[in-house]
């Protein structure tokens, strides 16, 4: 039981770490790192599902009968590329946010947003009175 499901529990622990980083850490780059860890744990789930005891890599060669399942490998090739695409776009957004807000910490950005929010409300109330 323990050895059989050990891989899945490692996947769950990695997933929890990744999710915690994304939610708890304020730095925007840290969130993207957390996202990367979260996605890598899903890859390990798929690949440990595909593995067959005593099987070799899915490349046909004489003398080898038992292969591990090629389908999850194809799915994970797609998922890795999707993961990198999301990371690249996230990092582009972080660069633009740094230029626009001057900081990449969630509290500073939230603080600046609330400030601009109050200013627009004050203008609106003045507009109504006049």
């Amino acid at each position: 039981m323990i050895i059989g499901l050990f891989n899945d529990w490692v996947v769950v622990v990695l997933m929890m770490i990744g999710l915690y980083i994304v939610i708890a850490h304020g730095n925007l780059i840290k969130k993207i790192v957390g996202l990367a860890i979260f996605q890598t744990s899903v890859f390990i789930l798929y690949i440990s599902m595909a593995n067959v005891e005593g099987g070799s890599a899915p490349i046909l060669a004489e003398g080898i009968k038992q292969f591990s399942n090629p389908l999850p490998h194809v799915l994970i090739l797609t998922a890795i590329v999707v993961g990198v695409a999301t990371t690249a776009l996230g990092l582009a957004l972080v660069v633009r946010i740094k230029e626009a807000y001057g900081s990449i910490e969630e509290e500073d950005i939230q603080h600046l947003d609330n400030k601009t929010q109050d200013e627009t409300e004050i203008q609106a109330t003045e507009g109504d009175q006049s």
Partner: protein, 492 residues
């Protein structure tokens, strides 16, 4: 060529995107993407006819039969959604060129159209595919282009909204990936049809239960159902108006389609509504979503925020319709998908016209707009009325069917709550009407002319559709009830 329609539906906008990159000049690219979207619309109309006459179409990609290769299965539900998405995208594209002149810097126009076509491809791909993993790939295409499109907004808060949407969207997509992985692990297949046949044997295992939970949470994140809706208001309010008009009408609809497809076709009705207390959960979340979002909409002073919150409330109505899990309930849900798309795209296009003229959508700057931009404001008022569900408009039809479904089920308290929810809608629509017609314009505000023709044609096209389908409901009702019956396995 007729037999290749399902794949052409997705390939036409997909190949149009790289071609646009080669065309470079934004005027030419606009016409080309409008042309591509129009072709996609024509294909979806042909597909709908084909499906209504000859039932489900199955198209094997690469010539490999179903569980081995990827298969496109178009039934009444898909065809209906494809029609909505391509119609809305074509109409919204008409106003695109004039709207983005004021909102997006010149050198980024071509990139805007490419991203627009890619998000259209993504949505069409999600709706028409019959393979679980292919849904994830096209979900990523439409989400990535959505993040980039929202980040093109003028306001710096668009960047922050797009970043939050990226984080929430990627977590949602990865949850769906985990769900698909667990389902694949227990059944060994990725094809949805094959999954629905093989899942009942392993339905009682804990892994399939977890897979179901993860897929539902992932889709609800994309759907912006009540507790997971935090990314939607800012994303829709600060994005360019054309992007909001397109996504408000289609993005949540695609997620609802996914929800219906997974609960009804893949996991089967009995499993989805008995194991997880889905019925009670959806009912509760839908109702709270209606009340919380509508009351939040009342206190917003940015009009785009108002209608973004009202979108969340409308999603609440749809989910309540879904939770009845009867044929009329499902028909009401599908009707509301169609009607809500018409309403919201008209309203957000009209707001785009206001942004084009005024530059901002603060409620205070709306004062006295009724006289300066009569046609646009009239469109917003009619859209608002149909949001409330006033007779002779589309909103009334879907509210009517929702209420009959609820009363049929005997849940009259829920029906009363739905009516109360519509009253809340009256309040926030009235706030806008009052500002536009009964308040004098501000002293320093410069009088503005009516919106340009390129805005008025699509807006009024959608408004007439709003009214026409309110009166003659043959098309939308017939397709919606046929789709609902096919989902329940009852041959119409």
């Amino acid at each position: 060529m007729i037999s290749h329609l399902p794949i052409l539906q997705v390939i036409v906008p997909l190949m149009a995107a790289p071609i646009c990159l080669l065309l470079k000049r934004s005027q030419l690219v606009w016409l080309f993407s409008l042309f591509a979207s129009a072709i996609a619309f024509i294909i979806s109309v042909l597909l709908l006819q084909q499906v209504m006459t000859s039932g489900v179409i199955s198209y094997e990609l690469g010539g490999w039969e179903a569980p081995w290769g990827i298969e496109y299965r178009i039934d009444k539900l898909n065809a209906f959604l494809l029609l909505i998405i391509s119609a809305i995208s074509t109409v919204v594209l008409i106003a695109a060129q004039t709207s983005i002149e004021k909102e997006i810097p010149k050198e980024k126009h071509t990139l805007f159209y490419i991203l627009y076509l890619l998000s259209l491809t993504g949505m069409l791909g999600i709706v028409s595919t019959g393979d679980a993993f292919n849904v994830f790939v096209f979900l990523e295409i439409s989400s990535l282009s959505a993040y980039a499109l929202i980040a093109l907004g003028q306001d710096r808060r668009a960047l922050w909204a797009s970043y939050q949407y990226l984080i929430m969207g990627t977590i949602g997509a990865t949850f769906i990936l985990i769900g698909i992985g667990l389902m694949y692990q227990m059944t060994g297949t990725l094809n949805m049809q094959d999954l629905s046949q093989r899942l009942p044997e392993v339905a009682q295992t804990r892994t399939v239960f977890t897979a179901f939970a993860f897929v539902i949470v992932g889709v609800c994140l994309k759907l912006a159902l009540f507790p997971l809706h935090l990314w939607l208001p800012n994303a829709y309010a600060y994005a360019p108006s054309i992007v909001t008009a397109f996504f408000a009408a289609t993005a949540t609809k695609v997620a609802i389609y996914l929800l219906i497809r997974f609960t009804f076709t893949v996991f089967g009705l009995s499993f989805s509504f008995t194991t997880l207390p889905l019925q009670g959960l959806f009912l509760l979340l839908g109702l709270t979503g209606i009340f919380v979002a509508s009351s939040a909409a009342i206190y917003q002073n940015n009009v785009k925020h108002v209608f973004a919150y009202s979108s969340i409330a409308q999603v609440g109505y749809i989910i309540v319709g879904l939770s009845t899990s009867t044929i009329t309930g499902l028909t009401a849900t599908l009707l509301h998908l169609f009607n809500h798309a018409l309403m919201k795209s008209a309203i957000f296009l009209a707001l785009g016209a206001v942004v084009y003229r005024l530059g901002n959508v603060q409620l205070s700057s709306f004062n006295g707009l009724g006289r300066q931009m009569p046609l646009t404001m009239a469109a917003i008022v009619i859209g608002g009325l149909s949001l409330i569900g006033v007779p002779l408009t589309v909103g009334f039809v879907s509210k009517w069917y929702l209420l009959t479904a609820l009363l049929e089920k005997g849940w009259w308290p829920v029906a009363i709550l739905i009516l109360l929810g519509s009253l809340l809608a009256v309040i926030y629509v009235w706030r806008i009407v009052e500002a536009a017609y009964f308040k004098k314009p501000l002293a320093d505000s410069v009088p503005v002319k009516e919106a340009p023709l390129f805005f008025l044609i699509p807006i009024w096209l959608l408004i007439t559709a709003n009214i026409y389908f309110g009166i003659d409901t043959r098309l939308s009702l017939q397709v919606a009830s046929a789709a609902a019956q096919s989902l329940f396995g009852v041959s119409p």
